[in-house]
Amino acid sequence: MSTILEELEQKIQGIESSATTKSNVGYVREIGDGVARIEGLSAAMLNEMLEFPAGITGIALNLEETEVGAILFGDYTKIREGDEVRTTGRLLQTPVGRCLLGRVVDALGNPIDDKGEIEATEFFPVEKTAPGIIQRKSVSQPVQTGIMAVDAMIPIGRGQRELIIGDRATGKTTIAIDTIINQANANRTAEAMGDASFRPLYSIYVAIGQKNANVARVVKILEQNDALKYTIIVSAPASDSATNQYIAPFTGAAMGEWFMENGMDALIVYDDLSKHAVAYRQVSLLLKRPSGREAYPGDVFYLHSRLLERSARLGENYGNGSVTALPIIETQAGDVSAYIPTNVISITDGQIYLETDLFYQGIRPAISVGLSVSRVGSAAQIKAMKQVAGKLKGDLAQFRELAAFAQFGSDLDARTKAQLDRGQRIVELFKQSQYSPMPVQVQVVVLFSMQKGYVDSVPVDRVKEFQNQLMEFFSTRKEALLTKVLEKKQIDKELEPELIAALDEFKNFFK
């Protein structure tokens, strides 16, 4: 018996210490522009990581009859024709976890911020299938952006995908940065209060094809607002290869998924997907894939749908985590009917449309109320906000229509005039300077004052002054009332008289 056992153990040991490895190899036939064509690799799998000489890695994207088309990460100029390439049997992975918070990393998760190595213990595949129907739950918790116009009229929920779309320099990134800052503020406040029920929201900002100066500016703003410690920045700037720009949002999504799968909430900003589509077009054309409309490959829709589908809200049985996505799309001369914008509009659960005209009229954030919509977010809005902002979107849309007509005639009936006056004041209230997000309880109080007509008597040019003083008044003298609004999350019969009394007190104070 013991002889059999010894023999068996010897055999097992022989297998374990076997020094012979089996691999599948190929040879580089063509190399250039970050793309290689490799002969051989008969056993390569789609999206499999390939090992090139000099420690360079690639991914097999095209499996052809006699060749494999691969994209490369790293300095492809070190690779020569005839170099040996081998399969690894692994998918591309990125480090994930809390250790990445406060860090700036490249498209593969390597640190680029001179803050030392990232000691990650977990790795997630960059490409991953989105959660299925059973695991998901409908959106029911809010993401407070801190931007009053968004939180009141286009509310966003955890797990939602809300597109930010507009021409260049209309404030798209600012909305995203404001949202990140507001999450950091909320996280900090909850930490200070020791609120155990609060679910912190961690942010991931993915910069795709941006100028390095812009990324540095974002980092600085987040640092100044003490928001970087709750944020991961994935940067694939314009100077990076198209392959890095193509993979960066997927890396960000993998980092977000770690939070989601561990029962936490994450917010991802993809800034921007137009440049991502351009990078993918470049990669596809270099791989000689057939091109379609605007020379984009046929699977450009799938590229964005599979990325955005990874944003989800998981059910209680699956950890209750979520990933909220804020993709950004840059339009050309306001053309939302172009290929990529229509694709992403149809994938997302709503869009915040920013208009150049409004921006130059001084209405900032330049949100076009008519074209902006949130398809699922209203379910996540807190009751207090619903109570004060229920009719705002309609009022504002009516105001825009009336304002256009009012230009042609001077005789207006009292009702129309009142609507115009109200509209002008709402527009003024919604103006908000950048990087100064407003807590939700303050937003509720401001909108409550509007609803109850306290702003109607204030001249339009003094509305902003009124709002600022009102906010100061409440945050210095009525802090308890603000906390009550935040705790109750609704304006009930008890709270309403208290708010009215406070507003009356403020009205006497405001001259």
Partner: protein, 130 residues
């Protein structure tokens, strides 16, 4: 040389015609090549180049390259060749190469598959693990 789609298609047809029982047939390859050279169809030079590539890749699939750090003695080489034939079939051709970079052990390649039992491979694995 850029090879057109037509030439590729032609080369694939020539390649299919050169197979007998799923294996490359030397006589058929010669016959097909001679016929194309004689007929001189459009893009025939491109097609021949592509055909040569396909034949090269197919031949590599049935060709074993055995690399060792030092030259193998005849008995060892014969024993290895016998093992290769018993594993992959008698029609497989063998080629012995000396590669001092391996430091020791053997590296056997059949088509794209490589069985690497060299000291160099072990060192590389250790480097990766560290």
């Amino acid at each position: 040389m850029k090879i057109s789609k037509d030439a590729r298609r032609q080369a694939r047809q020539m390649f299919r015609a050169s197979l007998a029982n799923g294996r490359l047939d030397r006589a058929s390859v010669t016959k097909v090549t001679d016929m194309v050279i004689a007929g001189k169809p459009r893009h025939y030079l491109q097609a021949l180049k592509e055909f040569a590539r396909l034949v090269r890749l197919e031949s590599a699939r049935r060709h074993a390259i055995i690399q060792s750090a030092t030259a193998l003695v005849a008995d060892e080489a014969q024993a290895i060749a016998d093992r290769v034939h018993s594993n992959f079939g008698s029609d497989i051709t063998t080629e012995f190469q000396v590669n001092p970079a391996l430091l020791g052990g053997l590296r056997v390649q059949v088509g794209s598959d490589v069985w690497d039992g060299s000291v160099r491979n072990r060192l590389d694995l250790i480097t990766q693990q560290l």
